[in-house]
Amino acid sequence: MTTTAFPRRTYLNHEFGIKSWLLTKDHKRIGLMYLVLVTLAFMLGGIFAAGVRAELTTPAGDLWSSDTYNKLFTMHGIMMVFFVLIPAVPAILGNFVLPLMIGAKDVAFPKINLISWYIFLIGMIVTVGAMVVGGVDTGWTFYVPYSTQASNTNVMATGIGVFITGFSSILTGVNFMVTVHRMRAPGMTWFRLPLLVWALYATSLVQILGTPVIAITVFMLALERGLGFGIFDPTLGGDPVLFQHLFWFYSHPAVYIMILPPMGVISEVIACFSRKSVFGYSFVAFSSLAIAVFGFVVWAHHLFVAGISPYSAMVFSFLSFAVAIPSAVKTFNWTATMYKGAIWWKSPMFYVFGFMGLFLVGGLTGLFLASLGLDVHLHDTYFVVAHFHYIMVGGAIMGFFAGLHYYWPKITGRMYNDTLGKTSAVLIFVGFNLTFFPQFILGYLGMPRRYHAYPPEFQVFNVLSSAGASVLAIGYLLPFLYFTYSIFKGQAAGNNPWGATGLEWTTQSPPLPENFPDQPVVTEEAYDYSKREIKVA
């Protein structure tokens, strides 16, 4: 194996000092700055989750007080949803690779990109600050009238934090959308775009259209809690169910903000490590758009037992089944991509295998919940908890890790230990299933979510789940260690250690501050492996 030399001038070393980071307009540096914040949020959210799982090892609520427990699961949800899942792939990986993938120097609005990061930072400081001074206990869903009338925790401060953070998401969405429209390299037609770009584009659409609704909803909640407006309070002529409609009008599409970009990552990684073009490129691309659009019309499936009319429940049930189809199409296409490929078993591909297994379970259990007659029983039980963790952790975080392992050599210019990478993928997969599979059983048995104490017959599955969570924690800690190690001691990666197609792999690793020495020109479709001679590091 030949040793590759490090490039001399890179985006990492062309200027130094804290100021060169805090005032940077370089999308790559901003991506890394998001990585720092999201990692912190992930650790914080993980600690809260550990608190929840530790409590649930025994049926009695004996480790924390009920109020503390309620704050723990609330803050776990808020950190993970707003500060990890939503920004993970778009703000970290998207920021880093989107301009590289389309052959651009930067995003369309570099200053706005930096502003987005600061907005995110401020939102995070406010939210974490609210947690430090006492926390919040409404559940991440902020349901009224509990959040407006009953809770005496920091609902307002947390709401303001979430409100602020939303603008970061909107601005990033606008930025990406304009970037994809205006900054593509010559020859990079829409149907030559890598599928991650399609996924990020579809996600931007959801971010731009959906996020304002949560901002308005949180604002109305503040009006009612702070100033006594009667929007949701029935004694003032309001309607508590209205809040749920508004909340889920954003928060269901938000699920697609979380899962679409990782789906894009999966397409990239699976193509690269199968050495083939993605099967049914245009179907995969359009399924992203279909999911983004259909995702807006299924929100009321969160309200099947909240007193909506049976006929509207029927319509939303049908639409929820319909939105499952594009996801199924993607899964079949990924599987078919591997057919007659040349499959190279490297770390990123291990995360893809993990993603496939977990996303399948997560997606298919969604059908159980979309089924009206069954959802009545399963709603608000651990079945739902298990389902959305399979999608969000099993799908979104696994996809994010696939992307992180895939792009790490590009980001840092160095390789990490592949064996450790695979080991942690296996640990995460095993730990994850051990944690969340028992929760499906608990859910069908009828254990409601957000329970501090529970009947003793549910203990065995809860203990299994908590045991799995510790395996999962090790699986997540390991990458933190070997990635950190690789920054200092890792082998030079070279431009294209995976032998991948795509413009991002044609430039040096780490890339130049201006990404490419010359304006790249695209002459071939995405994932054109067939004509290639592949050299790998």
Binding site: S66, P145, F273, V305, S371, G373
Partner: protein, 329 residues
Amino acid sequence: MLSSIPIFPAQASTFAADVDKLYFLILAVTSFFAIAVVIFVAVFAIKYQDHEGTQVGAPIHGSIPLELAWSFIPFVISIGIFAYATVVYFELVRPPAETLQIYSTGKRWMWRFQHINGRAEINELHVPKGRAVKITFTSEDVLHDIYIPAFRVKADAIPGRYSEIWFEPSKLGDFHLFCAEYCGTKHSGMIGRVVVMEPRDYQAWLSGSDGQPLAVRGQQLFQQLACVTCHLNDGTGRGPSLAGVYGSKVELANGTGVTADDGYIRESILTPQMKLVSGFQPVMPTFQGLVNEEGVMSLIEYIKSLPAPAAPAAPAPAATAPAARPAQR
């Protein structure tokens, strides 16, 4: 030891088995797809493994027939599941004509169940086996949710409106009752048990109470709150006569109509101007704060108990029994 750990909930209502059948059907269908995909991925990953990473895959770009097949087939299967699940759902939300009525209110952190004959209980619900039971309930503060896993029923208790569940217990015994909508500090303590009894035991249990029947209490309230001064039974009062009104169609001043169900009566007591009956002046004051949720429920029960006036022309359809027709929503 292991046998004492349940992995499947008891089937204690008539539709528990229907819900479980649906569950196993979906489980079978989804397991088939999950296992198929996992097998394909595993076989491809092993069969086409390239240790060096230097080979290229076959130049396959896609197949329209395959894409159509795997879009269309899952879609058809989905529609099948959707249709079946919706049929089961309508069974769950449509109570039969004859039900045993029980009222309930939830508040942090307890459930109160009120039987028509006057017996009330906290965090316990006694019901007879083999009879359709309907619970009409609301919340006095935040959202709650009545959930009885063994019956496979659940519905949110929403302040400001009535929710309804019904079930027919099919098995004697004690079953969990959970609050399934997060409601603050002692959410996980807002639990209780449902006791399914033989009908005669239930009757004996019911009579072990000195509480007055709900309709009687409603009648007293009707006097105390002076409802009686306007709502005269002969229709000559300032308000409409309430005799036989329960379950009937009421014509409103704004030209629309409404069925006089529990929800409408509650609304008329608390916000009388909202849906004014045609031909009457908006003179009724609100009784918000003067009557609590339990009071409203006893008033409803009293109104239900009023026999329809012997109409000479129109034959009143079976509105004489106190157990009136179910609310139609």
